[in-house]
Symmetry: D2
Subunit: 300 residues, 4 copies
Amino acid sequence: MDLAMVGLGRMGANMAERLVRNGHRVVGVDPSEEARARAADKGIEPAVSLAAAVDALPSPRIVWLMVPAGPPVDKLIAELEPLLAADDVIIDGGNSMYKDTLRRAAQSRTSRLHYVDVGTSGGVWGLAEGYSMMVGGETDVVESLRPLFEALAPAADKGWGHVGPSGAGHFTKMVHNGIEYGMMQAYAEGFAIMERKDFELDLHQIAEIWRYGSVVRSWLLDLTADALEKNPSLEGIAPYVSDSGEGRWTVDEAIELEVSAPVITLSLLERLRSREQDSYGDKLLSAMRNEFGGHEIKKR
Amino acid sequence: MDLAMVGLGRMGANMAERLVRNGHRVVGVDPSEEARARAADKGIEPAVSLAAAVDALPSPRIVWLMVPAGPPVDKLIAELEPLLAADDVIIDGGNSMYKDTLRRAAQSRTSRLHYVDVGTSGGVWGLAEGYSMMVGGETDVVESLRPLFEALAPAADKGWGHVGPSGAGHFTKMVHNGIEYGMMQAYAEGFAIMERKDFELDLHQIAEIWRYGSVVRSWLLDLTADALEKNPSLEGIAPYVSDSGEGRWTVDEAIELEVSAPVITLSLLERLRSREQDSYGDKLLSAMRNEFGGHEIKKR
Amino acid sequence: MDLAMVGLGRMGANMAERLVRNGHRVVGVDPSEEARARAADKGIEPAVSLAAAVDALPSPRIVWLMVPAGPPVDKLIAELEPLLAADDVIIDGGNSMYKDTLRRAAQSRTSRLHYVDVGTSGGVWGLAEGYSMMVGGETDVVESLRPLFEALAPAADKGWGHVGPSGAGHFTKMVHNGIEYGMMQAYAEGFAIMERKDFELDLHQIAEIWRYGSVVRSWLLDLTADALEKNPSLEGIAPYVSDSGEGRWTVDEAIELEVSAPVITLSLLERLRSREQDSYGDKLLSAMRNEFGGHEIKKR
Amino acid sequence: MDLAMVGLGRMGANMAERLVRNGHRVVGVDPSEEARARAADKGIEPAVSLAAAVDALPSPRIVWLMVPAGPPVDKLIAELEPLLAADDVIIDGGNSMYKDTLRRAAQSRTSRLHYVDVGTSGGVWGLAEGYSMMVGGETDVVESLRPLFEALAPAADKGWGHVGPSGAGHFTKMVHNGIEYGMMQAYAEGFAIMERKDFELDLHQIAEIWRYGSVVRSWLLDLTADALEKNPSLEGIAPYVSDSGEGRWTVDEAIELEVSAPVITLSLLERLRSREQDSYGDKLLSAMRNEFGGHEIKKR
């Protein structure tokens, strides 16, 4: 098939490359000349503008957005609408908030465009191993894109699926990331307990043991083993954990749906906590203890 | 009444003083000459040893221990047993673990001594305001000590009670402290949220407002207002929160009783967290994110 | 002073009554004839419509809204704007979301009206004991309303204050309620632990003991003692806990400000949990345990 | 090699069978005649008593215990000690608390026996896929048992290792199970959120999608997919989750080591919560809300 990939960052470039490797024709759009050049080396046709990319495609056009969630997506859609015609397809493969997707899909319908949301997991490993994709949108449109999903997935019939109407793909990906936060935190806590214990455990060895036959074996554990092999004492890494949105959205959604999700929630809160250098709350607790019990305050 | 107060630290000295003020005779025991001298100034009769103190009392002797929980209590009991006779009374007014109290009470029975546990709350303010006391032990023995409790409590019939058999006093005090952890953490979080917000709120003013008429008014809030008046920005206080045992025991007990107590539990965990300078878990999370997503690691 | 009180429900009627008792003139508006009649008995002048109430007031008019948060407030403001003139004052004393207040205050400025937000705590006890009020708005406008706040507060100079610009009052009240959730949950957990323990503790007695001299004494504890006196075994009460918005907003706000507030957050989640009758998550955990370990599944 | 397997329950029988399949000679001991008969069918030599089993082995004897943690292990060791001689080896492959293991290993040394602890993961799937084993004990003794571990593990050099001195194996397995609790809870929460959402998601389909290429792929997810395939709506399963000890021990250990492990801890608490039918705490919260706000209590 022919499609445009808009955004040739880490994710977009790799996905475009995997599509090309599987015989598809990809026109790649990115404002960075360097990104376009790198893409060209992989067999992706570089385009300097959305208009150029759209022109280079047969009808109905398929435009796959792979850009940061939020305003960049709205901006691109606004630019694309005048360039596209009825029955063209916009795919949002990024980590958009599913409520934004619901809004964008409704708006696209008024322009007689089709809007497909693809929650995409796999990170930097997706190029080699394939991507896991949760697809939301109209059944026949999703079906028409099947060759693309089969090329991107780990296997033609595995790792992707049409999970529901518009928004369902991004919703499912959001929850996926919430689970990811919880799993990561569970491992982090377990390894931290072992690190503190005076058995002088070799944490890389233990991660390797668990990779085979244990109940906790997983791909995240494979990566943990890899990280611990390269840097067993995690030298030079600050205890500072970023978050990128989906965790917060999952927490919000759980509360909105009135589902108690304490582990996913605490996983997010622990990340916030990792970034607090000088907690006002902790200082106040110390001051309170001094007030009622005369307990000594630790000075800074 | 006549009694010996063993341990003239902050709590013991104040309690002895409050008893003396209310007309009781207190023999005070403490290894520190300075503590004994200070006590003497308050009308407490200093004694250089347990034996001297016991000798100075009429039968049945009443010996009130006000020392740190754990081995110090067992050591004192071992020293006291040969000095005491049937029907003498040992009172443990400290923060002993209630299971230790069960063991000690059983052991005391074999020596025909009476053992009374008094969970005591009130901290440094108890001298002026009276202590809240949860008393465990035999009904008639507790009743015989009524004049002491009436003198120590905020009012003769308020702030103390015989809550159950041996151990029940310390058990109840343990849970009291668990609740205290939860309340403190709730306030600390609330004030931290207000401190972060760009409304330039005056946190001392808000604490004062809440002290009158609000749902969250409490003695801990009075203390918080006091602390914020003296040091609104909590200057010079390290974000480091100690814990002294009862919180952990409450968490253990809740799990043993299979009662889910997430807020008390998290309050304890937050204190542990406040003392972690360089969390291995957080470093591992950062390393994992880099592994799967190529997310940048913050260097230290 | 003269003012209109819009909404004569539990809170509005009591506040109007307290104002009347303190010599103010209150015109009361409510669609319910019964509510207006009840108010008239307390010396409140009933008005059948906003227009009638506004007409009955001298300039500048003061209109105090005491209605449920959300659309009702916007609806009333829309009705009021054509009735009011420059320099009239709208007070929102309800539990509005502070971001709505920011929007409404900005909109009022375009109509040259003054908008004051009053976070109000005290519940059904406020009539007798006075209300705790956190006031947001322009300094001179708030100052001009001082007689009203002094009448409503527990004492003229206690329990209320001008905490900041528009929105700051409702923001502060929101956090107040978040803290309230945490404190309530801490007590609930502690009492649940004591209830489970085989010491046959009298929980009402313990609540009473703690009310005097203990570190956990508070108004919420007074209420708890009262509830336990009336119904020690909590007979006939379903284990079902509602929530009314401010807790959720506090959790959202904490995450937005990147302040980790686990205890307030878990307090909310426990309320959600109390309402889950047939947790899908728990069923899935049971199914998973059966899958990997052959552990027996409890049938329903 | 020759060894006795004591305890032919689900785990012991499967491990014995896997050893036999790999050419080892296993004498199986179990009080149940039926269990012995089933074992005999798999090529395991049944023994009616420990004495008979020990007699059937060449020196140094190897006795592998695969029985429930706690008193059963102590009882067996007490019976074994008079039957064994210097340099014989006792292996505890069950889920013993590591502090019990430290005690038992010390005691074994006084009898000149060797004690090896093997934390074993893999559940009912271990027979086919191999077991993950964390081994604690003396280096040369563990090394002498290598053929057994190579036979039981998924591959000779994968899925097992000597992680440290006595106790280190069970300690590591304990933490493994703590992580397992956290991972399971993360999945359970995520699927519960999706189940509640009105997208009519097919949860089995989503689990299958995630199994390939996603960040959350894992063996637990494979099992979840399997459970959801068999019973998508989890019909007939009570929302009741048991726990078997290691989770509690991990929580205790984390607190003892002063490592904050909120996710593992909350995972345990959620299991306790799933078993509470009529939460006293929730009833008290409802009663409190009624006290201060007049909020309606839900009747049962």
